[in-house]
């Protein structure tokens, strides 16, 4: 077993060597511009891009003409939300999203708010899912878009996407879904899920960084987006800029592998996840799972280890790469807004660890991680005044703290 162990697969995934093999020729011999229509170099590049479009479309139940290439999920989310807001401005000025969305969605919405768009941020229930009745009630005749993610990047909770799609269809509102954590991991189908616009990124499914896609429905309804960059009118006029051919080939290859191997991967990842969870729960008391266990990505475990602060825990397990919802590990010095949205106290958010299991993790790595976690949590609890108080039967919620 090689150290350090990578268990942060929601942040990014390693490139699958098979994906790299597919990409390599497009850096060197097939370097052509896919928009060069009049020579063999351009044709080779274009052919590769079209193959990738088909591979992506096949994975998500779309038509290849409905795939627009971008630089990644942040761009896809920006293009989807701003593109709809501008294109459908005459129809309405209201967008609905959820409190637990990724910053690329939330900050895009905040930006639009400054331009006069009204945004509703739906709260989530204790299990991390949106309340469908609340969504239905939030839709008005001014609503043009609902943007809800497929699966959450922190706690792996899967939203009732097909139900959301159905509601949007009933109400005649477009449905954008940020599906970066779900595509290639669990079955996603834009037809049965009723999704009109969907964001995808390659580096979350064992493809390269810097390339993503946006699914844009072409019929029933035909979705139009206002381009966010001016230029050569590539990608049906929605996204100008010379295509990143090698990256696009990588995204396509990654989608093809994911489609072929999904069933085994789900079984494998969830077995490793359940093993990790069982070991941690057997070895430690006062652990809490954050978010729904039932509606959860198979490779995600988000757990709070009460009375132990997350960053100090990461420091103790420094040969294992995971992340924490603790304020100390974030740039803003605020604990995870996603975990707070669940109604968890800040104290549990500070003690949370996210494990993201990937294609290349082994049982041995999971066992090592569980043992190390148990050892470090126990050590830090010996150091924790809160643990001592808890063991003495003090109700911590009744203590007068000197907040600073």
């Amino acid at each position: 077993m090689k150290l350090p162990i990578y268990l942060d697969n929601h942040a990014t995934t390693p490139l699958d060597p098979r994906v790299l093999d597919a990409m390599m020729p497009y850096f060197t011999e097939h370097f052509g511009n896919a928009a060069s229509r009049n020579h063999a170099f351009g044709w080779a590049a274009e052919e590769a891009v079209e193959k990738s479009r088909k591979q992506i479309a096949s994975l998500i139940g779309a038509n290849s003409k409905e795939i627009i290439f971008t630089s990644g999920a942040t761009e896809s989310n920006n293009l989807a939300i701003k593109g709809v807001a501008q294109m459908y401005a005459e129809k309405g000025n209201h967008i609905i999203t959820a409190a637990t969305e990724h910053k690329a969605v939330l900050d895009t919405c905040k930006h639009l708010e400054k331009e006069g768009i009204r945004i509703t941020y739906l709260p989530v229930m204790g299990d991390g899912r949106v309340d469908l009745d609340m969504l239905r009630e939030a839709i008005t005749d001014k609503t043009i878009l609902v943007s809800i993610m497929y699966a959450n990047n922190e706690m792996g909770v899967i939203q009732p996407v097909a139900e959301i799609g159905k509601i949007c269809k009933e109400k005649g509102v477009l449905f954008h879904c940020d599906a970066v954590q779900a595509v290639g991991k669990i079955p996603v189908n834009v037809i049965t899920d009723g999704i009109d616009i969907m964001s995808i990124t390659a580096h979350k499914l064992y493809g390269p960084k810097g390339v993503g896609a946006l699914y844009v429905r072409r019929r029933n309804p035909r979705v139009q987006l206002t381009a966010q960059m001016d230029g050569g009118g590539h990608e049906r006029g929605m996204r100008s800029g010379t295509l990143n051919v090698a990256g696009i080939v990588g995204l396509g290859a990654a989608c093809e592998i994911a489609e072929k191997e999904m069933a085994q991967e789900i079984a494998r990842a969830s077995a490793l996840r359940d093993r990790l969870r069982a070991k941690l729960e057997a070895g430690l008391e006062e652990t809490y799972i954050n978010g729904s266990l039932e509606h959860r990505l198979p490779h995600n475990l988000n757990m709070s280890f009460a009375y132990v602060e997350g960053e100090s825990l990461l420091m103790g397990i420094n040969d294992i790469a995971v992340s924490s919802g603790s304020a100390c590990t974030s740039a803003t010095l605020e604990p995870s807004y996603v975990l707070k949205a669940l109604g968890l106290g800040d104290d549990l958010a500070h003690t949370s660890i996210r494990f993201g299991i990937g294609r290349f993790n082994t049982e041995e790595e999971i066992d090592y991680t569980a043992d190390k976690m148990i050892q470090v949590v126990n050590k830090l609890r010996e150091l924790s005044p809160l643990w001592e108080m808890f063991k003495d039967g003090v109700d911590l919620s009744k203590v007068q703290w000197t907040a600073h």
């Binding site: 602060e309 800040d346 000197t402 600073h404």
Partner: protein, 134 residues
């Protein structure tokens, strides 16, 4: 974030971890911070009433590595100091000793607060004690 060697050393080998009897009149206890802020420090000193020298110091901290290191270092510095001398310890001394980055300065502030809280607890007890014996 990269931690300084001293922070790592205190984190791996925290000095003076533990608790003393809060009810002991010679023990001063300071507890600062809040769980929802992500750090709570408990710092205790045991003072020789005749000499006013801090003979022992213990801590327990819920917080990041820098918070643990700050309080561990504080207990090292407190031992052997006279009570009034201990009040001179400034958070900036801790920042310098541990090479804390700007985002971790609040850990040192918390440690200074914990020292002050422990001393004032001891002093308050000492006054009551004198009143009782007198």
């Amino acid at each position: 974030m990269a931690y300084s060697d001293k922070v790592v050393d205190h984190y791996n080998n925290p000095r003076n971890v533990g608790s003393m009897d809060k009810a002991d009149p010679n023990v001063g206890t300071g507890m600062v911070g809040a769980p929802e802020c992500g750090d709570v420090m408990k710092l205790q000193i045991k003072v020789n009433p005749a000499t006013h020298i801090i003979e022992d110091a213990k801590f327990k901290t819920f917080g990041c590595g820098s918070a643990i290191a700050s309080s561990s270092l504080a207990t090292e510095w407190l031992k052997g100091k006279a009570v009034d001398e201990a009040l001179e310890i400034k958070n900036t001394d801790i920042v310098n000793e541990l090479a804390l980055p700007p985002v971790k300065i609040h850990c040192s502030v918390l440690a200074e607060d914990a020292i002050k809280a422990a001393i004032s607890d001891y002093k308050a007890k000492a006054i009551t004690e004198t009143a009782v014996t007198a």
